[in-house]
């Protein structure tokens, strides 16, 4: 029977609540105690309601027993408090089992697959009685959270559709390059790496290939991976991270500028060109 449709004795509820609050009990606990007292009081004054409750809530066997005994047994059982009735008839063995302290009887683990005990129930019983005192208010920072569906997912869908539409339009009108068949004997001038390596290719102009091609890329990768272990500043406020942000921005811009120079300002013979004067020697 749901909590809402259990009738309460309002007078008992109010007085118990007041008494509990006066004792300094936590409001939630006080309300729980008042409610249980009010329900018990109501059942005591309305025997027929309590009998119905017993029949509905107890196991079928218990219900049959009540019915078999006829109408005479019902008021007697109902007159007693609900807990006592349950204890006497023992129909709610589940609840009783749940509150007894578990005792370890099984032998220590052997590592073998366990065999089922004979006569054991197939199902786990996940029912327990919790006294109102046992209910604790958990204080956890809930944070300001919103449901993923619909708020986040709709945002993701919109972003996805915009990207897809833009990319499809772009791909419809602008063809990806395809030059003539590969010819190992004919080096194009200039020959450039894909754009994301042009920063490194640009560095080749200034450093020995081992430095530009091996040392610096290794340093970038290892350096990037090491960022969280080097920067131990716990704050994520931009104001507290001036050094980190400055260093990262400078390196990022440095890489970006090198890539742009390698892409647009280098022409035949990998010599300097002005893209607006001599043209762009860059292909994606």
């Amino acid at each position: 029977m749901a909590k809402e449709d259990t009738p309460l004795d309002q007078a008992v509820f109010d007085s118990t609540l007041e008494a509990e609050l006066a004792k300094g009990t936590d409001r939630r606990v006080a309300e729980g105690r008042a409610r249980s007292a009010a329900v018990r009081a109501y059942r005591a004054s309305h025997p027929e309601e309590a009998a119905k409750h017993e029949a509905a809530g107890a196991k079928p066997a218990a219900a049959a027993a009540v019915a078999g005994n006829g109408g005479a047994a019902a008021p007697a059982a109902a007159a007693a408090p609900a807990g006592a009735a349950a204890g006497a008839g023992a129909p709610v063995a589940v609840a009783a089992a749940a509150v007894t302290t578990p005792v370890r009887e099984a032998p220590l683990p052997t590592g073998n697959v366990p065999t089922p005990k004979k006569g054991a129930d197939d199902k786990h019983r996940l029912l327990a009685l919790v006294p109102p005192e046992g209910i604790q208010r958990v204080e956890r920072e809930q944070g300001d959270r919103v449901n993923v569906w619909p708020h986040l997912l709709i945002e993701e869908f919109v972003a996805m559709f915009i990207l897809m539409a833009g990319l499809t339009l772009f791909s419809t009108f602008i063809n990806a390059p395809l030059r003539e068949l590969a010819n190992p004997n004919l080096t194009p001038n200039p020959s450039k790496a894909p754009w994301y390596f042009l920063g490194l290719q640009e560095l080749l102009r200034y450093f020995h290939p081992m430095v530009a091609g091996i040392t610096i890329p290794t340093f970038i990768l290892v350096g990037l991976a090491a960022v969280p272990y080097v920067d131990r500043n716990p704050s994520n406020k931009p104001g507290d991270r001036k050094i980190a942000i400055t260093v990262f921005t400078m390196l990022f811009m440095f890489g970006g500028i090198l890539t742009i120079i390698g892409s647009f300002f280098r022409g035949p013979g990998y010599n300097w060109v002005w893209p607006w004067a001599q043209g762009v020697f860059f292909e994606l």
């Binding site: 944070g143 300001d144 919103v146 449901n147 993923v148 569906w149 619909p150 708020h151 986040l152 997912l153 945002e155 993701e156 972003a159 996805m160 990207l163 897809m164 990319l167 499809t168 772009f170 791909s171 419809t172 602008i174 063809n175 990806a176 390059p177 395809l178 030059r179 003539e180 068949l181 590969a182 190992p184 004919l186 194009p188 020959s191 450039k192 790496a193 894909p194 994301y196 390596f197 290719q201 080749l204 081992m210 530009a212 091609g213 091996i214 990768l221 990037l224 991976a225 960022v227 969280p228 272990y229 920067d231 994520n236 406020k237 931009p238 942000i245 990262f248 990022f252 292909e283 994606l284």
Partner: protein
């Protein structure tokens, strides 16, 4: 008795009450009859969907703000999926062989552009999408840096992200060779010539990368295998770890 055809909404209701429909859409699905726009059903909509359940049921409100993430990580993942789909399409029409007699790879590229239905569009999507993915992954890294999202407990996820950036570059670079045109082999020749300068293992590194001393048919087959199966396989594993760690590390970082 006159039989009246059911109205569309009535028919929809009836279909959604069938056992088949109910077996497909789990309780809480928005496609199931009786979906209510309550907190409970909203939570179930996320939990009971194989795709959406990558997400938690709730996220921090500031994470919705476009200027916090710019959707860059999500779009990078979307581009990865798009590239997988278009890539599978292209695989049907492409053979990675470039023997001296005739370069089948290049011939296949031309036929994709000219005679395959939608071949040109799909190839364009694949190529532009790939460039865009390198770009979006790089920007995603910058975003994560600027929001300080690599700080504890997310240090390791940043490392996984750096590996994913490296894998993205690897995927893009191995794909660059496959058209087998002048652009492809010379870009790859320039890019891999740097490996020849690695200390101690210069020759071995070059040979491992190229399958020979210069970019040739063996390189094509090697990079094709890397491009279509080896690197995507590794990438998916790291993606899984990346997404899993986002959840385990307490969702999106911040707020600032």
């Amino acid at each position: 008795m006159k039989l009246k055809p059911p109205s569309p909404s009535d028919l929809g209701d009836r279909i959604r009450e069938t056992e088949v429909w109910k077996s497909i859409f789990r309780p809480g699905s928005i496609f199931r009859k009786g979906y209510k726009d309550t907190s409970r059903d909203r939570a179930l909509a996320t939990m009971n969907n194989v795709l959406y359940h990558l997400h938690p049921v709730k996220v921090k409100r500031h994470g919705l703000k476009l200027t916090y993430t710019f959707c860059l990580g999500g779009l990078s993942f979307f581009l990865f999926i798009l590239l997988t789909i278009t890539g599978i399409f292209l695989m049907f029409f492409y053979r990675p062989t470039a023997d001296i007699g005739g370069a089948q790879a290049f011939a296949d590229m031309q036929s994709i552009r000219t005679s395959v239905f939608f071949g040109d569009l799909v190839r364009n999507l694949h190529r532009w999408g790939a460039h865009l993915m390198v770009f979006s992954v790089t920007l995603h890294m910058a975003r994560v840096f600027y929001t300080g999202a690599y700080k504890p407990p997310r240090e390791f996820n940043w490392v996984v992200g750096v590996i994913l950036l490296f894998l993205t570059l690897g995927l893009s670079f191995t794909g660059y060779l496959l058209p087998w045109d002048q652009l492809a082999i010379w870009a790859v020749t320039v890019g891999t010539s740097l490996a020849g300068y690695s200390p101690f293992i210069a020759k071995q590194a070059n040979f491992l990368l190229l399958g020979g001393v210069v970019v040739g048919p063996e390189t094509l087959l090697r990079w094709y295998t890397l491009h279509v199966i080896a690197l995507p396989f590794v990438t998916v594993i790291f993606l899984a770890v990346h997404f899993w760690r986002i959840r385990k590390d307490g969702g999106i970082s911040g707020p600032l």
